[in-house]
Subunit: 353 residues, 2 copies
C-alpha cells in the first residue's frame, strides 16, 4: 500500500514555517524569507531539504548553534567577486543575500563569484542556482555539505561531505536546465529513506569498512557513501569543497561539524554562488534559441530499448513544481505528526489541513 500523504498548500506551509522561526526569536521578515525558501524546496520536490528539516533547524537554534539576529554583510569585495560573512545566520538568509549580491554585481561585471562563510545548511543547491534565471543569468552553486559521509578514495576516514554542485541555465520556450547533484552515488537522505521503508540499497551506494558492498541501510553507520565514478567523484567532492570551503575560509575536512548530531556547535558552513550574465557573452535571444534546439535534439534523440523518454536535468522537478503549486505539497503522515509535535513545543498553531 502506498504511503498516505496529505496535500498542504504552499501558503499554509510558508505560514507554519515562518511562525516556527518567529517562536524562536527570528525577526518576522527573516522568518518569512526562510519560510519562502524552505517551502519552495518542498514545492520543487526536494523533500529531504524542505520542511522536513524544520525540527532540526529549530533544535539547533534553541541549542545556540545558530545566530537568529545575524549581521550578514559583505566582508571583501572586488569587481568580479565578494566574500559574504553570514555571522552564523540561517543558511537560507546568508545564501539569499549572497545570491542577490552576485546577481547585482553580474549586471555590471558580466560574471560575479560570491563566496560565503560563517553560514549554515541552506537547503537544496538548486534554490540558489535558479535565482539568477529571472535575470537572464546562469547560476552555479557549490557547497560544503553539513556532515561528512565520504572518505577519500581508498580510505576509511570520512573527511569529505557529499559536496553538491548545481547549475541552472535558462532556455527559451523550454524549461531551464537545472542540474542539482551530490558528488556521491546516493545522497545520505536516500539511505535514510530506504531504512525507514525497510528496503535494501542497491550495490554501489555504500561500502563497509572492509571494502565490501553495504546494502542494508540499517547498517549505514558501519560504512560510508561511495563517490560517483570512483576516484573521479572523490576528486569532484574535494575540489567543490575547496572552492566553497577553503577559498572562503569556511570549514572543510576534519573541521566540518555533523549538524545532524550536534545542536550547539557553530558550523562555519561555506557556499559559493556564481551569476553569469548571458548578455555579456552574446545576444540573449540567440542563446535561448540555441538552448531550445539542443534540448529538443536531446529529447527527440534515439532511445535505448525499453527507455520511454529522454530527460533533461530539472525536468522532473519542473513537473513536480507545477503539480505541487496547483495541488499542494504531498506530505507523509509521519512528517505531519513531527511538525504537529513541534507546534506543540513552540506553542504555535499546527499546519492547517
Amino acid at each position: 500500500m502506498a504511503e498516505q500523504k496529505q496535500r498542504i498548500s504552499g501558503d499554509r506551509l510558508r505560514a507554519f514555517i515562518a511562525s516556527a522561526f518567529e517562536a524562536v526569536d527570528v525577526p518576522r521578515e527573516d522568518a518569512r524569507a526562510i519560510a519562502q525558501l524552505m517551502a519552495q524546496a518542498d514545492i520543487n520536490g526536494s523533500e529531504g531539504h524542505g520542511v522536513f528539516r524544520l525540527p532540526q533547524y529549530i533544535r539547533r537554534i534553541k541549542g545556540g548553534a545558530v545566530n537568529v539576529k545575524p549581521a550578514i554583510r559583505v566582508e571583501r569585495e572586488m569587481a568580479g567577486m565578494a566574500l559574504v560573512n553570514g555571522d552564523n545566520g540561517m543558511g537560507h538568509l546568508v545564501m539569499k543575500f549572497a545570491t542577490e549580491k552576485a546577481i547585482e554585481k553580474a549586471k555590471t561585471a558580466g560574471v560575479a563569484w560570491v563566496g560565503a562563510r560563517w553560514s549554515n545548511h541552506a537547503g537544496p543547491a538548486s534554490l540558489y542556482a535558479t535565482m539568477p534565471l529571472a535575470h537572464n543569468m546562469i547560476g552555479l552553486y557549490m557547497a560544503v555539505g553539513s556532515a561528512n559521509h565520504l572518505p577519500p578514495w581508498g580510505g576509511l576516514d570520512m573527511l569529505l561531505s557529499t559536496n553538491p554542485i548545481a547549475v541552472a541555465v535558462p532556455a527559451g520556450e523550454e524549461p531551464a536546465i537545472v542540474l542539482d547533484m551530490a558528488t556521491t552515488v546516493a545522497a545520505y537522505g536516500k539511505v535514510k529513506t530506504k531504512a525507514q521503508r525497510g528496503e535494501m540499497m542497491p550495490e554501489g551506494w555504500m561500502m563497509d569498512r572492509q571494502g565490501n558492498p553495504l546494502t542494508d541501510p540499517k547498517r549505514a553507520n558501519e560504512g560510508f557513501l561511495l563517490p560517483i565514478g570512483g576516484y573521479k567523484g572523490y576528486g569532484l567532492a574535494l575540489v567543490m569543497g575547496l572552492l566553497a570551503g577553503n577559498l572562503n575560509a569556511a570549514a572543510m575536512g576534519r573541521d566540518v561539524v555533523d549538524f545532524n548530531n550536534d545542536d550547539s556547535t557553530v558550523t562555519n558552513t561555506g557556499h559559493t554562488i556564481v551569476a553569469i550574465n548571458i548578455e555579456a557573452f552574446q545576444d540573449l535571444k540567440e542563446f535561448r534559441q540555441g538552448m531550445d534546439t539542443l534540448i529538443r535534439d536531446i529529447r527527440n534523440s534515439q532511445r535505448l530499448p525499453g527507455v520511454d523518454r529522454i530527460r533533461l536535468p530539472g525536468e522532473g522537478s519542473h513537473v513536480t513544481r507545477a503539480d505541487n503549486e496547483k495541488m499542494g505539497v504531498p506530505m507523509p503522515e509521519a512528517l505531519l505528526a513531527a511538525l504537529d509535535q513541534l507546534a506543540g513545543e513552540l506553542k504555535i498553531a499546527k499546519i492547517a489541513r
Copy 2:
C-alpha cells in the same frame, strides 16, 4: 614484455614540434608557444594529449581546417569576464591568450571568467587550469570535447562529448591539487589504448546499442561511452558543455565536429577558463597552510584493507613530471615511427635521439 620506450628530452620534443608547425606556415613565435604546451602535456604524463596529436594537428592544418595566422582577440569584455574569439587558431594559442587574460583581469577583479569560441582542440585541460597557480590563483577550466562519444542518459545518439573539467588549487609545502577529468568513466583515448594492446575493457566503460556492456575495444564503434554516476555524469557533461559551448556561442550537441575523422571542417570549439585570486578572499599564507593541513589529513587518513596509499588529485602527474623533466619523456616506438614519417613528409629533421 613491456613496451620498448625511448626517453626524449623536453628540449628535443619542443624543437621538433615547433619545426613541424613552422613547416606548415605557423609563425615561429606561435609554433614555439604551441610546442611548449604540447611538450608540457607529455612531460605531465598526459600522453594522449601531447605530441601523439601532432600528426592529426598537422593534417588538419594542411586540410584547411585550422587558421595558421589567426587574429586572436577579445570580442567582448566586462569587469569580471571576457569573450575571446580565437579566429579558428590552434586551441593552444587561443587558450594561452584566454588564460593570460583571465589572470590579468583577476588581479583587479578578484575573479575573472573568460570564455573562448572559434577555437580548436587545446590538449589536456590541466595545462590551462594550472597556469593561474604561479599567480597565487585557482584555475578552473571547462571545455566542449572535440568528438561526441556520449549519448544522453537512456539514449543512443551521441550528442555529447566527454566534456572535461579541470580545477587546480595551490597549497603551501605540498604540491597543488590538480583535478583533470572527463565526465565519462573512461576517456576515449583509453579505449584506443586497450584496442592497441589487444586487451578487453572492464564492464562499465562502454555500452552497446542494445544496452549491454561492451568490453571488446575493437567493437568500440558499435557502442558508446558511459558517464560517471549514470544520469549524474550525463548532467555534468551537459552543463560543462553549456558553460563552455552554448554560453560562448561555440559548437555543442549536433554541431560538434569529430576532429578525429575530419581534416577540413572548422570546429568552433568552446572553452572556459576562470582565474580566482585567492588574496581577494583571504590571507594567502593562511590559505596555503589550510591546504597543507587538509592534504596531510587526507593522505594520512586510515586506509581500506589492501590500499597502500591515499592519493590526492594531481599527485601521480606531479611525480611523473619530476621524473620526465629529469629523464626525458618515455615514447613508444610506434609513436616515434609515426613522428619520423611526419618529419619525412614535412621535410624537417627527425627527433634527435
